[in-house]
Symmetry: C2
Subunit: 319 residues, 2 copies
């Protein structure tokens, strides 16, 4: 594994990631909607990671990481704790490389997510739904299996992998005025920020976060790390705290972070479903929700949005 300590991923790391993952993930389409453009008064470009393998951008980072590791490093498989999209993405990446994936999942994870991990052959260990229990159980699994731990976002190979989504987007649309991505742990936002810095430096990069899980917003404004405290948002992919690798990249390369209400998230999500006829999860709708609340001002601008994923329980919708 490359030693990135003290440095950010380079342009070539994202380019290498793109080559490494090419045969294992989708080059997702960029969709537009005249209908939404006329509602929002700007030109919107949606990078559809909801159509990505395993239903989310997480497949990019997971495949890049798993295929970056040496045969020796992965001889006992990989492991992680996750209740969400990283779990399925890592299980899938491990399956592709022919190794085991040990996934620690909280016992209250949704059936859909559990089924997805099983579908890709992941070996699940359930635990109590607290961060302490997840970390403790993962340590036990790791001691027992000697598997290689793959963090969902605080890892430069993961970050470089997530950056390939924005890189592809610029290849297709040219340089938008603004690019927006949701922010949870910061893997997607930091990867997007680096890709923008390298491949579309004139584009302004803005993170969007639920007001009810605004740790990244507060950390960014204060330039000091604040953890996520009692996040209470429908955007279930964005409840995590920034990491010590993602935060410095975001501080240096992101232009602004904006927050949005739960009401706007649900409204934006429904607009995307109704007008574009595509399924996105609540986290994906957070940037459009922010535009709905005029943060930032996008009038007449070309605005690219990364739709992060499409995994949602269809029997429990928020409207």
């Amino acid at each position: 594994m490359k030693d990135h300590t003290g440095t950010f991923p380079a342009k070539s790391d994202i380019e290498d990631a793109a080559k490494r993952i090419r045969n294992h993930v989708h080059y997702t389409p960029v969709l537009t909607s005249q209908n939404l453009d006329s509602i929002f008064g700007c030109h919107l470009y949606f990078k559809c990671e909801n159509f990505q393998k395993a239903g989310a951008f997480k497949s990019r980072g997971a495949v890049n990481k798993v295929f970056s590791l040496s045969n020796d490093e992965i001889k006992n498989g990989v492991c992680t704790h996750s209740s969400g999209n990283h779990a399925a993405a890592l299980a899938r990446a491990a399956m592709l490389r022919g190794i085991d994936a040990h996934i620690v999942m909280p016992e209250n994870s949704s059936t859909v997510k559990i089924e997805a991990v099983k579908h890709y052959g992941g070996k699940i260990t359930f635990c109590k739904p607290t961060l302490d229990a997840r970390e403790l159980t993962l340590r036990q699994v790791k001691n027992r299996t000697k598997a290689f731990e793959v963090h969902p976002y605080n890892d430069f190979d993961i970050i470089s992998g997530q950056g390939t989504a924005a890189m592809e987007l610029f290849q297709e649309t040219g340089a938008p005025d603004i690019i927006m991505a949701p922010v949870g742990g910061g893997g997607l936002l930091s990867g997007t920020a680096l890709a923008t810095h390298y491949f579309s430096p004139g584009t302004k990069i803005i993170g969007a976060e639920p007001a009810r899980a605004d740790d990244a917003f507060r950390s960014f404004k204060a330039k000091t790390f604040y953890p996520s405290e009692n996040p209470d948002t429908i955007a279930d992919g964005l409840r995590t705290s920034l990491g010590n690798l993602t935060f410095p990249i975001i501080l240096q390369h992101v232009d602004d972070i904006v927050t949005t209400s739960e009401e706007a998230i649900i409204k934006a999500m429904k607009l995307i479903w109704e007008r574009m006829k595509i399924i996105v999860e609540p986290s994906s709708a957070v940037p459009l929700a922010a535009i709905l609340e005029n943060k930032p001002d996008c009038r007449n601008k070309n605005v690219a949005i990364i739709l992060s994923g499409g995994n949602v329980d269809l029997t429990s919708l928020p409207w």
Copy 2:
């Protein structure tokens, strides 16, 4: 207007329709899904008319018809009765040509459909929700406005327009073993059958219909027209009867019509939403539902399906 009496639309009618509508409708994508292929044991190609303008294939026929009419014919606008996708498609086509569209809608039409017609500037007259009331009200509107009546499917220009979807599909996928389309009034199925006959003659063409609205199935098997009687299906686009122009084309050029249960329609619709992350209306799911029930046998075959539309009330889903 061309006189088609006694003849079917020709190859050139579909080609002309394609040219006529090119700048006014989407060339929709053909999507595939490894996930669904592995479930169904065949190679599926989905022509995504759910992404079409106004949310359904109906925009093809409506635009072709409205732009086929002479200035004299359309000087008083166009009119129709419809509770569904034809209403919005015709209103939109009229707006593009700068003429009025008078739409008779039953008073129990869904809010979503009413809003869509209004969005495109359609002038709505409401009536009681019976076929008699719809036809009577339309006659009154027609007498008052002298508008040109555009039937939703029993019209060769409409049929030629709908045929462009299959024509585009063959351009993209080559010749599949089977092509399937849902059948209500038969506009889409007859257009698809003609396009297949002209552009992919080796492809088998199969119509799919809800068992609870099986007038086309019965008519096809008996080679005698039976009207739709008390149709009671979730596939709201498929409750209408065949027309005297669509039925002969279907008799001559369709290889088979199969029926499917309501349970399979809902299951197939949910599979498309979950696995492909796209929104389709129940009518769109009818062909896949039939495959789910092994009618026809598609094992290891290349099977193209026209996903007819994506207009669905998100607050009232069938699961």
